[in-house]
Amino acid sequence: MSTYTAHFRVWRGDADGGGLRDYRVEVHDGEVVLDIIHRLQATQAGDLAVRWNCKAGKCGSCSAEVNGRPRLMCMTRMSVFGRDETITVTPMRTFPVVRDLVTDVSFNYDKAREVPSFVPPEGVAPGEYRMLQEDVERSQEFRKCIECFLCQDTCHVVRDHEENKKAFAGPRFLMRVAELDMHPLDAAEEQGLDRKRSAQDEHGLGYCNITKCCTEVCPEHIKITDNALIPLKERAVDRKYDPLVWLGDKIRRRT
């Protein structure tokens, strides 16, 4: 077992200001960044604020930026860094900071509320739902999401443009729209809710310029862009820009 001393720079402060503070801290074999943050807490900075929970990449609490890249701290092994490398840890830079590494992620919870929920099909009693595996698989991929909000953090639409936060739901919640639109039994359409159209009209799908940073940072390796956002854009095209599809639907409905 080998031990060394690493140089950490951790952002300390709150909404009124703050800065990167230097720490020298012991690192043992096999540790991850979150372990080092915890060691700082226990030995040098008892009040260092950080969110965490499962430590196994399953809850999505310990999101932060390590050397400028959005990451889960519990899934960032120290062995990927050189021993003399300075490791900089900051809070997510898209959301308002609360204190130290903790940010106010309420943006995401607000956006979650704006996506209309699953609409159960009428006349199908609990226990009578029948769905085939191939029909649920696409939505199941999106339901792997652990809501770490790293995709929301890295997305330049809101990261670099605060004013877009109002109009843009972000990758996580556009993916939620896609998930529901692909759900084999969702009855939104019967209730007069067009998810394809609302993706663009209500949730800001058009802001996405598919530069794929959301997919790059996803710790669950969900293909957000290719499997959710682009298909959703294509579905919006079906509704709004493709007269052939429109005509086809019209004819099919007649017959």
Partner: protein, 281 residues
């Protein structure tokens, strides 16, 4: 090839006013616009260089209006040849639909379709938004622009017509396939021969088909738009198959871009007499 709708990016963007984006009030006070320590700029740089090289080459060749036919090979830039000013191409895809009034290079009449297809392609969009427009230059690296509306307005809202270019890309690819078939002749038009040029065109058309079939719009049309795969087993299988190709869309986009340029270059070299096409049989 993206530069005509995207203004060229200034090499060093002017610093935006403070308190913007990651520097906004309320966010963690960090002066640096990014803290990445890796070579994040390499990817957009390579992308920009690669695309620029192609744009320069293809612009030159498209306007050249010369050396695009060397029996039995026709350059993919000039097929089908729709102007009356095309060189004589026995049996080739030469349909002078545009009559006498078109005086410019006939390549321009045709290239608009593959150009539009690639310009609105989901991969190329990512590539040039990042490489040329720095929007964003790389993940978690602040972009230089003060305002951003994405693809919500004119002109970028037109990206939604990608599907139509996909529809057009199919006949174009069919004609190029026809060209490859014609390339199995010798200079005299006798069938059953093959040269290095045939191979070049064959590889090119294979890559073009792979790129076209791997298109996101294609994936949507063949099956992606369905809600119940189980009720459409054939389309489900096609969707699965296109999906596999689609996961390599970026690779195919680059390979087919290089191959089409090389195919044209090969025809140019043979037609200009700089190179003698080796015959296999």
């Amino acid at each position: 090839m993206a530069t005509d709708t995207q203004p060229p990016a200034p090499p060093t963007p002017p610093a935006p006013p403070a308190r913007h984006g990651v520097l906004s009030a309320g966010r963690a006070a960090i002066a640096a616009r990014h803290l990445r320590t890796d070579r994040w700029w390499l990817q957009p740089l390579l992308t920009a260089l690669g695309l620029s090289a192609f744009v320069v080459y293809s612009t030159w060749r498209a306007f050249a209006n010369a050396y695009y036919y060397a029996e039995p090979y026709v350059s993919p830039f000039y097929s089908p040849c729709l102007g009356s000013n095309c060189v004589d191409m026995p049996l080739g895809a030469r349909w002078p639909l545009f009559g006498e009034w078109w005086g410019l290079s006939p390549a321009l009449l045709v290239l608009i379709f593959p150009l539009g297809f690639r310009l609105t392609c989901y991969y190329y969009r990512k590539a040039y938004y990042r490489g040329f427009w720095a929007s964003p230059p790389a993940c978690a690296v602040a972009e230089p622009h003060e305002k951003y509306t994405g693809e919500t307005r004119f002109p970028l809202i037109l990206q939604n017509i990608h599907r139509y270019f996909f529809y057009f890309a199919i006949p174009v690819a069919l004609i190029l396939t026809y060209d490859v078939v014609l390339a199995f002749r010798d200079e005299q038009g006798a069938w059953g021969h093959m040269g290095l040029g045939t191979l070049v065109l064959l590889v090119n058309i294979a890559l073009i088909w792979a790129y076209t079939a791997s298109c996101h719009s294609c994936r949507h049309i063949v099956g992606g738009r369905l809600r119940h795969f189980s009720k459409h087993p054939v389309r489900y299988r096609m969707w699965t198959w296109v999906g596999k190709l689609n996961s390599r869309h970026m690779l195919l986009a680059w390979l087919s871009l290089v191959s089409v340029a090389l195919a044209d270059l090969y025809v140019y070299l043979v037609a200009s007499g700089a190179f003698d096409d080796p015959r296999f049989f």
